[in-house]
Amino acid sequence: MTRLTGFELKKILQKKIVWVTFVIFLVFQVFITSGAYFIASRYVDGKFLETKADWFKTDRRNSEKLSGRKIDNTLLAEIEESKKYIPEEAGERESYAYLSSDEYNKKVRPYEIINRLVQYMAGGIKNEDKTGALVQEMLYSTRHKAQEILWDDYKLSKAEKEYWREKEKEVPEVFTYQYGGMYEKIIDMSGCYYICMFITFFIAICITSIFTDEHIRRTDQLILCTKYGRWQSYVAKIIAGCIVVTSATLILFVITLACFIGIYGMGSFSAMVQVVIAPLYPGNISAGKTSIIMVLLLLLSSVVLSIVTMVLSELLKSNTGTMAIVIAVGFLLARLVAIPADFKFIGKIWNMLPINLLKADEGFFDLRLWNIFGIKFTLWQMAFVAYIIIGVIFFFIGKRKYCKYQAGGR
């Protein structure tokens, strides 16, 4: 089996299109993750203000300085104090003179990121005290109100709301700010989501021909009448396809990770996901754990999508037809079609498609639940099980089709 898999790998890796596609996607991914850092600069009023690299470095420094601080009245008071230095006029606020001033850089800028987070936590609801300042109690109660509004938007059932209220109890009452660094980027679009998108295309272009090439070249007749030409050959092809796709995913991920670490730093593994990317999320989960789960989902979805694609190509006996289905359903439709919240069942399934699930705000943090025999599962928890089941089902459908293949009608 190992030798057969080796030869199947050789067949795949000898194709120029595999390498060309991979290199193009690798360049795209590196550009998306770090292009702006190295190329772009910030210009205000037609004058050079700073390079993007300096911008990122300053924000990172400021965030790291605040790391470990509780978002309580003391910090909120400091934020309010910093706001006093912000000009009231919008034009002035965005002028070169202001943005390059010491006042902005020393008094306002250090609190810009935490101020933005606080605004997100309040979910856009204004709930300030008589002086106009946001105080701790109001911030957290406003966050709860914003959560309830969001849950209504999702059309969560009473049971689902109750589930999340219970989960919310596990979240500390007062948040501690920690810099998310690379973890934030892994979770947001530039990390797992883009890799998933590129891998979907990679699978559609490079993996669809593993089985169909044998039929097109008519090498199938030679293979199928050999001792190991049926079941073993099938397994070897599936394993080889999965190895290529998983390796491509891992390489893309490792290079992306290296870019993130270089630009944004490690960040804190234990940072609450609420202070890193999802202020209204009601569960107690760290950014580090979320990143690991998303990467595991990315790897699993790559393997399962590879199996589904290879089996589809064997069922259809067409690599172009399979390519069209994978790109249309796996990417285009998944991204272009949003299922309204009223169609809950379909919406949940739709958001479990890898490309949707790995988009943090839409899929991964989707609060709708699956209720299986009284046990509630989030979409990502259910995805692990569903992906494995789908992979196994397709694997055996493909096995049946391949092993019973008839070399007739030519």
């Binding site: 194709k15 070249r217 007749q221 001792k227 008839q406």
Partner: protein, 230 residues
């Protein structure tokens, strides 16, 4: 050693490609003759287990053609087949040897012998896409012989071979026929005239002649044309 095709039929929607063919093969060389479209290739594919018959069975000493054990003693050279253009002859034969269950060491030894036998040793490390039609055909013959098959099925094996290669090929088949069942189909009568122990003739999917070649008086070509000349 007995290969039995029992009332073998293959029917496509509105066409019967093979019609109730029953043959018993024992050691020796069988020349399968017939015009294009007579059903030779369909019959051979069924013998190799890569095409299921509509009815009938193929067994070798009681082993069904669908079993792994049957495929283990089978060598097949299809009429029209492809290669992996970026593989070298060595890679290709190593791959086929892996499919035929060889370990690496014994595969190396056997492949060296076969490459020498089909005169491809010098170009063994060159990519197959650089090969001529005849070289590819010889490579195909080599892969069919890899596992010293007890059943060797060859569909138009001499296509693309030059006269010198044809003579060498005939010698190989003659030798193979002493230990195995060799079935080769062709529409070139001279290819089987001197080496076939038995002659089978197919017409419109039916087996119309099955007899030892020694029983045919005069030239086989004349005999064949006498039967199919119309």
């Amino acid at each position: 050693m007995k290969l039995i095709a029992d009332r073998l039929s293959k029917q496509y929607k509105n066409k019967i490609a093979v019609d109730r063919v029953s043959v018993e093969f024992t050691k020796g060389v069988y020349g399968l003759l017939g015009a294009n479209g007579a059903g030779k290739t369909t019959f051979m594919r069924m013998l190799c287990g890569i095409l299921s018959p509509t009815s009938g069975t193929v067994t070798f000493d009681g082993i069904d053609s669908g079993e792994e054990e049957y495929r283990n003693i089978l060598g097949y050279l299809p009429q029209d087949f492809g290669y992996y253009p970026s593989f070298t002859a060595w890679d290709f034969l190593m791959y086929m040897s892996a499919l035929k269950g060889f370990d690496k060491k014994s595969a190396h030894k056997r492949i060296e012998e076969l490459l020498d036998f089909v005169s491809l040793s010098d170009v063994a490390k060159k990519k197959i896409k650089t090969y001529s039609g005849g070289m590819k055909q010889r490579l195909g013959i080599a892969q069919a012989l890899l596992n010293n098959p007890k059943i060797l099925v060859m569909d138009e094996p001499t296509a693309g071979l030059d006269p010198k290669e044809r003579v060498r090929f005939r010698n190989v088949i003659e030798n193979a026929g002493k230990e195995s069942i060799v079935i080769l189909s062709t529409h070139i009568v001279s290819d089987v005239e001197h080496i076939a122990d038995y002659i089978l003739m197919m017409k419109d999917g039916r087996l119309v002649f099955n007899a030892p070649s020694s029983g045919i008086e005069g030239s086989l070509e004349e005999f064949y044309l006498g039967r199919f000349g119309d």
